[in-house]
Amino acid sequence: MDITFDHVSYTYQPNTPFEHRALDDLSFTIQSGSFVAVIGHTGSGKSTLIQHLNGLLQPTEGQVQVGPYTMKAGEKNKQLMKLRENVGVVFQYPEHQLFEETVEKDIGFGPQNFGVGQDEIKRRTKEAVQAVKLPEELLERSPFDLSGGQMRRVAISGVLAMDPEVLVLDEPTAGLDPNGRKEIMDMFYHLHQEKGLTTVLVTHSMEDALAYADHIIIMNQGKVYREGTPLEIFKQQQALEDVQLDVPEVVSFLKMARDYGLDLEYEGQTIAELAKEIALKVKGGGDHE
């Protein structure tokens, strides 16, 4: 599903002393099937943005188009349920939304609300727990008896079982240890490719944006500050620093390397490839001296 924001603004608590314009005339397009990272500081508007993707918030001005569904300022959307079925959102710390007696019931909760049949729910549940690598014996257990990491996987399965076409991830790895983080992100990437999902990842991690996204949107003060491929974005180190954002470590390393006479351009090399290039330069006997 293509996603288009057309001059979207959103204001919290309009006409009160607490009035706050969180999105300010925001326009961008996300291609169907792409993996987009949305980056920005707390308060940059990214969390308001994602709530527009499944109609939790309705624009104060402008229009949001998600596939065939339109949300326009001042107009009631009659297909809200359809939209929510098609756009799965994994919120920050999604394990906080678990409530059923068993893991299986909790995973089936979403699809059931959208009127999916029992057999189909069973099938999807099985598929979802496999996708997140949860052992099937856990299905009968209470979600509250599981470890934190397992609970997160259950919550993610619950969203996957809705069988969405668009997957929105709001810092899905927050609070996990490095191992768990990588496992979860690899899992989402795999799903993205296998199912041809449109994935929107909200993250603070430049490393994740670099590793997984094919398009990056940098938000600042409710506007798109920069937009482009990871390589295009991370070349603009200064622009990112201006809004107090970092670049991936490899990029800042290469920038510093320039001061030491090692002039290498970052073109998406792996660490091993980079080591080869550096080794060549170093052994090559100081071509800059």
């Binding site: 240890d177 107090q244 970092d246 030491y260 080591a275 080869k276 550096i278 170093v282």
Partner: protein, 279 residues
């Protein structure tokens, strides 16, 4: 003896008799003014160490000495005065209705006179750069700001040891930086030892010593350089290593001579620079 030290002597701990040991025969010493990072994957027992240090839990075997006092039911109140703790969730340790009240909470518990409290509130809030927020309510603060208040609350009691138990895990990069800068400054300005329990590799490289935990045992101890030079072992127990450390390995494999384990970009680049001049 044992002044300004935390000492674990053959400590073993489990929550219940029929449950597996969380810690097994753990021994180490943390000296005055040290910054010790404790790392290990989830479930390695690292958070239990923190709770044992100030008597929130007691070991079944072995002994823990804080500032020369054995930690037990009789000494916990004195121990807690010496060992300040900052926890992971910024919200669930903020007791007061305002910043000022929260900083006072620990001091009130220890029965400090009001005049001293007022003085210490000023001091400790300025030490963490939160002086302008004295009257602020917690729900108007960012996660990083709340954690800075938590640090101020601990400082106000002037302990000899501060434990940060994954205190940056729930923060965004900006909040994380705020906390690390604060901690750095505080550690330089005051006489105290710092124990950080963390996943953040960047935090680890800044510490003076690292204790690596695995399956409830001390798996390795040493300077960050020593620890990261044994990366194969770290990866074995599911721990990551910093970017420069990985790059250095690949460089060595390519035949670039590197003599010491780099801890940051600059160290690696400087060595590359020297090795280039030699070649």
């Amino acid at each position: 003896m044992g002044e300004r030290q935390v000492e674990f002597r053959n400590v073993s701990f489990r929550y219940q008799e029929d449950m597996p040991w969380v810690l097994r025969d753990v021994s180490f010493t943390i000296g005055p003014d040290e910054w010790v990072a404790v790392i290990g994957h989830n479930g390695s027992g690292k958070s239990t160490i923190a709770k044992l240090m100030n008597g929130l839990l007691f070991p079944q075997e072995g002994e823990i000495l804080v500032d020369g006092m054995p930690v037990n039911e009789k000494t916990i109140w004195d121990v807690r005065k010496q060992v300040g703790m900052v926890f992971q969730n910024p919200d669930n340790q903020f007791v007061g209705t305002t910043v000022k009240d929260d900083v006072a909470f620990g001091m009130e518990n220890h029965g400090m006179p009001r005049e001293l409290m007022l003085e210490r509130i000023k001091e400790s809030l300025s030490a963490v750069g939160m002086s302008d927020y004295e009257q602020q309510e917690p729900h108007r603060l960012s996660g990083g700001q709340k954690q800075r208040v938590a640090i101020a609350s601990v400082l106000a009691v002037s302990p000899k040891f501060i434990i940060l138990d994954e205190a940056t895990a729930m923060l965004d990069p900006k909040g994380r930086k705020e906390i690390m800068n604060t901690v750095h400054r505080v550690q330089e300005e005051r006489d105290l030892s710092l124990i950080t329990i963390t996943h953040d590799l960047h935090e680890v490289t800044q510490s003076s010593r690292v204790i690596v935990m695995n399956k409830g045992e001390v798996w390795m101890q040493g300077s960050p350089r020593d620890v990261f030079s044994k990366k194969e072992h770290l990866q074995e127990i599911g721990l990551d290593t910093p970017f420069v450390s990985k790059l250095a390995d690949h460089l060595k494999a390519e035949g670039v001579p590197l003599t010491r384990e780099p801890l940051n970009h600059q160290e690696l680049l400087e060595e590359l620079w020297t090795s280039r001049s030699i070649m």
